[in-house]
C-alpha cells in the first residue's frame, strides 16, 4: 500500500513542465518500449494472439484435423444441454468454494504461529513453503496417488488400527476431497503473504489493547483480522482465480480421465479432453471463454463485496 501511495505522489508533480523535460520524457518512453519489446512480442505472440484465435474458434466447428467452419453461437448453445459440462462446473465450484477458504484458513493459522517469533523461523518458513513449490507438480500428484491408493500409506496406517480405508482417490465419493486436500496442503504462498502482512501491523495497537486488558482472541478479532483484511482479500482473489484454472492435480491423479465417474472432472480437464481428445476444439475454445467470464464475475463480486469487509488503514 505504501508503494502505491509513493507512485501516486510521483504522478502528482507540481509546477509547469519544460520543453527539455518533455523531450527527455519522450526519449525515456521510447527506451522503455524498446526494453519492453521482448515482453511485448511474447504478450502479443504467445498470449493475445492465441486468445483472439480461440475467441474466433469458439464460434466454429474445429476438429483440429480440418480447417474451422463458422457455426455462430452453436457451441455456446450446446453447453446448455451438456450434462457432463454441468457436472464439471459442479466439481470445479466445489473445489474452489471448499478448497480456497480451507487453504487460506490453514495458511493464516500457520502464519500466526510462525509470527510468534519462533527460533529458526527461516527454516520453518521454507519447510512450510516447500509443498507449494511442489504442489502443482506432476511428481507430487503422483505421490498423492500412491499415498491415497487402496494399498497406500494412509490405508496402511488405518489398517494398523483396524480400519479398512476406501480407495481414497479411486472411489467417487472421496476422490474430490483428496484433491482438495492436496490443494490445501499447498498453502505456502498465501502463508508467506500473510506473514508479511502480519509484520506490517503496528505493534502499538497490540500494546494499547494490552493496556486495556484485551484477551488474545479479542486482539485477533479486533486488530489482526481487520488490519490483515486487505491481505486476506488479495489472497482470496488470487487463489480463486488460480483454483478455477487448476488442472494438473486432477489430470495426474485421475490419469487424465477426470474419473472415477467424472468425480474429479474439473472444467479445465473437460475442456482439455474435448479439445485434444475428442476433436472438438471449437467447443473447447467456447468453454475457455465461458470460464473467463465465470472468473471475471467471481472477481467482480469479490471486489464489490470487499467494500463491506476490507479495511484500509490509510
Amino acid at each position: 500500500m505504501s508503494a502505491i501511495s509513493e507512485l501516486s505522489s510521483l504522478s502528482r508533480r507540481k509546477g509547469p513542465v519544460t520543453e527539455e523535460e518533455k523531450r527527455a520524457n519522450r526519449r525515456d518512453n521510447k527506451a522503455a518500449y524498446v526494453f519492453l519489446l521482448p515482453w511485448l512480442v511474447g504478450l502479443l505472440a504467445i498470449t493475445i494472439g492465441p486468445m483472439l484465435m480461440s475467441l474466433y474458434l469458439a464460434f466454429t466447428d474445429y476438429s483440429l484435423l480440418q480447417p474451422p467452419e463458422w457455426t455462430g453461437l452453436d457451441n455456446f448453445i450446446r453447453m446448455f444441454g451438456d450434462a457432463r459440462l454441468h457436472n464439471s462446473l459442479g466439481v470445479t465450484f466445489t473445489y474452489v468454494l471448499v478448497g480456497v477458504p480451507l487453504q487460506l484458513a490453514v495458511a493464516l493459522v500457520i502464519a500466526l504461529v510462525l509470527d510468534k517469533g519462533l527460533r529458526g523461523l527461516p527454516f520453518y518458513r521454507s519447510v512450510f513453503y516447500l509443498p507449494s513449490l511442489l504442489g502443482g507438480s506432476v511428481a507430487v500428484a503422483l505421490l498423492w496417488k500412491q499415498i491415497f491408493g487402496t494399498t497406500g500409506l494412509v490405508n496402511q496406517v488405518l489398517a494398523l488400527v483396524g480400519i479398512q480405508g476406501p480407495g481414497w482417490i479411486s472411489d467417487p465419493s472421496t476422490s474430490l476431497s483428496s484433491i482438495i486436500l492436496l490443494h490445501v496442503w499447498t498453502f505456502g504462498s498465501p502463508m508467506i503473504i500473510f506473514l508479511a502482512g502480519l509484520r506490517q501491523i503496528p505493534n502499538m495497537y497490540y500494546e494499547a489493547a494490552e493496556v486495556d486488558g484485551a484477551s488474545t482472541l479479542q486482539k485477533f478479532w479486533r486488530i489482526t483480522l481487520p488490519m490483515l483484511s486487505p491481505i486476506i482479500f488479495f489472497n482470496l482473489v488470487l487463489q480463486i482465480i488460480g483454483s478455477f484454472q487448476s488442472f494438473t492435480q486432477a489430470f495426474i491423479v485421475s490419469g487424465g480421465s477426470g474419473g472415477p465417474s467424472d468425480s474429479t472432472m474439473f472444467f479445465t480437464l473437460y475442456l482439455y479432453q474435448k479439445g485434444f481428445g475428442q476433436f472438438d476444439m471449437g467447443y473447447a475454445s467456447a468453454m475457455a471463454w465461458f470460464l473467463l467470464v465465470i472468473i471475471g464475475a467471481f472477481t467482480a463480486i469479490n471486489f464489490i463485496a470487499s467494500k463491506y469487509w476490507v479495511f484500509y488503514d490509510d
Binding site: A24, A31, V34, V41, T150, R199, G255, G256, G259, F279
Partner: protein, 453 residues
C-alpha cells in the same frame, strides 16, 4: 534474522528521479539495439522449429511416431537401424510414448501442420483421421501389398483409399498366469469348452484360495474388445456396416449385470481397485504383478507381459455361452496400422519405409511378433526360427483359432475413439452402485450414439 522486520521499511525515501546524462543516453541506445537483436534471434530460433526437409548432410529425415512400452521401442529401433543401413540417404527420427498421451499429441501435431511422416495408427482413430484428409492414400505409392493377408489389408481401406497397412494380426484373448493357479491349487481351465459360468466359478474359487489382494480375474469393462466379444456371442456387434451402434442399451446392461455378479462373488477386484488398475501401465498390471490369475488382453501383448511378470503366461480363448469354441466369435484384428501423413514432404521415402516394415524380412526379424503376427506370409515364414518362445505362443494361438473365427467386424466409425472412455466411465458408475445397469446402459448408449454421429 527475520526477513520481514516489523515496520522496518515504512518509508525508504521514495525513488528519486535523476536526469539522464548523455552517457546514459548512449548506453540506452546500445541497450535497445541489443534488445532488438535478441528478439530477432529468438524469433529466428522459433521459426526453425518446423519440419526441416533435409538435414545438414543432405539426408532426408523422416519422423516416425508410435505408442508402446520399452520392449517395443527397442525392437522398433532395431528395425529402423536395419532400414537406415539399406538406405543411407534416409534418416528416421523416432518419437514414441504411452498410449494415453499419444492421441492428444498427434491431434495437436496435425493441427499445427507438424504431423510425423509415419504414424502408427489404431482402428479406433483411422476413420477419424482418414476421412478428415490427414492420411496419405498409400495405394498411390510404391508399396507391395500382394503378400499381405487379405482381411488385414482390407481393414486399412476406407473411403479415402488405403490409408493404413496392417502392422500385425491380433485377437482378443484372456491371458492366464499359471503361477497364480498353482499357488491356489486350482487347475487351469480348458479354453476349448469353458463357458462364462465356468469363468465365474473358476475366478471366484481362485480368489477364495489365494492370499488377500489377489483376485481370480481382472475385471472387464475398461475396453471395447471384451464388450465386442460379448455382443458377438449374443448376435450383436459394436458397430454396424453403415457406421452405427450395433447394440441396444439392454445388451450392454446385461454385460454389466454379469460384471456385477462377478464383483459380488469377488471373482474380480473391488470397484476401487478396478479404477486404479485402469491407470496402471502394462508392466504394473495385475496380471504382470501376479495379482490376477486371468486378465483380458490382446494376443500380441503376451510377450511384453511375460517379460514384465518374469514368468510364463498362457493364452486362452474367451469363454462362450455354449461351451463350444466355435461359438467364441473371435476375429482377427489389425493390431495397428502404418499410416503416413497426407502432408509429408517426402511421400516416396515414407512409402519406402512403410514398404520395408511391411514386406522386408529384416524388418520382420527386428519387430518379431510385438505388434501381432506378421500379415505378410513370406515374412512370417522367414522369421519363424527367430521368434522367442513367447512370440511362438502368440503365432500358434492365432493359427489355432483360424477355423473358429466369426465374421470380420465392421470397422469403427468416425468418433469411435471416444467409445472406450464412455464404457470405462459407466463401468465405474455401475461398480460403485451409482447407477443401475439399465440406467447406465441407456445413458451410455445415448452418449455413444452422439459420439459417432
Amino acid at each position: 534474522m527475520p526477513l520481514f522486520s516489523r515496520q522496518a521499511s515504512a518509508n525508504p525515501g521514495g525513488s528519486a528521479r535523476t536526469k539522464s546524462s548523455a552517457a546514459k543516453r548512449r548506453l540506452r541506445a546500445s541497450g535497445a539495439l541489443a534488445a532488438a537483436a535478441a528478439v530477432v534471434l529468438a524469433l529466428g530460433a522459433c521459426g526453425s522449429g518446423g519440419s526441416a526437409p533435409k538435414s545438414s548432410d543432405g539426408k532426408v529425415e523422416l519422423r516416425f511416431s508410435w505408442w508402446g512400452g520399452d520392449k517395443r521401442a527397442q525392437l522398433t529401433q532395431a528395425a529402423i537401424a536395419a532400414f537406415e543401413a539399406e538406405n543411407p540417404n534416409i534418416k528416421i527420427k523416432p518419437e514414441y510414448g504411452d498410449w494415453s498421451g499419444y492421441w492428444d499429441k498427434l491431434a495437436t501435431q496435425v493441427a499445427a501442420n507438424d504431423a510425423p511422416d509415419i504414424i502408427q495408427m489404431d482402428e479406433k482413430y483411422i476413420t477419424e483421421y482418414s476421412t478428415r484428409g490427414a492420411l496419405l492414400d498409400l495405394s498411390k505409392h510404391d508399396i507391395d501389398t500382394s503378400k499381405l493377408d487379405e482381411a488385414a489389408l482390407n481393414a486399412g481401406k476406407g473411403e479415402k483409399g488405403l490409408t493404413g497397412i496392417a502392422a500385425g494380426i491380433n485377437a482378443a484373448t484372456i491371458l492366464a498366469n499359471p503361477a497364480v493357479f498353482q499357488a491356489a491349487g486350482v487347475p487351469l481351465p480348458d479354453d476349448k469348452t469353458w463357458t462364462w459360468e465356468d469363468f465365474e466359478r473358476i475366478s471366484a474359487e481362485l480368489t477364495a484360495k489365494s492370499p488377500k489382494g489377489t483376485y481370480g480375474s481382472a475385471a472387464y469393462g475398461t475396453d471395447e474388445a471384451s464388450l465386442g466379444v460379448w455382443l458377438r456371442q449374443n448376435g450383436k456387434s459394436l458397430y454396424t456396416d453403415d457406421g452405427k451402434l450395433g447394440f441396444e442399451p439392454s445388451d450392454i446392461a446385461e454385460w454389466w449385470t454379469f460384471l456385477k455378479e462377478l464383483s459380488e462373488k469377488k471373482a474380480v477386484p473391488s470397484a476401487s481397485e478396478v479404477v486404479e488398475a485402469e491407470a496402471a501401465p502394462l508392466d504394473q498390471s495385475g496380471l504382470a504383478t501376479g495379482k490376477n490369475g486371468l486378465a483380458f488382453w490382446w494376443s500380441n501383448q503376451l510377450p511384453a507381459l511375460e517379460k514384465a511378470s518374469g514368468g510364463e503366461l498362457q493364452i486362452l480363448r474367451f469363454p462362450s455361452k455354449t461351451g463350444k469354441s466355435a461359438d467364441t466369435q473371435l476375429w482377427y484384428k489389425a493390431s495397428q496400422f502404418w499410416s503416413a501423413s497426407s502432408r509429408t514432404k517426402h511421400p516416396e521415402e515414407t512409402a519406402k519405409f512403410i514398404n520395408f516394415l511391411a514386406n522386408n524380412v529384416k524388418a520382420g526379424e527386428a519387430l518379431l511378433a510385438d505388434r501381432g503376427v506378421y500379415p505378410n506370409s513370406e515374412v512370417r515364414t522367414a522369421i519363424e526360427s527367430k521368434l522367442t518362445p513367447a512370440d511362438v505362443k502368440v503365432v500358434k494361438f492365432i493359427d489355432q483359432i483360424k477355423d473358429e473365427l466369426g465374421e470380420a467386424p465392421a470397422p469403427p466409425p468416425k468418433g469411435a475413439g471416444a467409445i472406450q472412455e464412455i464404457i470405462k466411465r459407466y463401468t465405474s458408475e455401475v461398480l460403485f452402485n451409482r447407477l443401475s445397469t439399465e440406467e447406465a446402459g441407456k445413458k451410455a448408449v445415448d452418449e455413444m450414439k452422439s459420439a459417432i454421429s
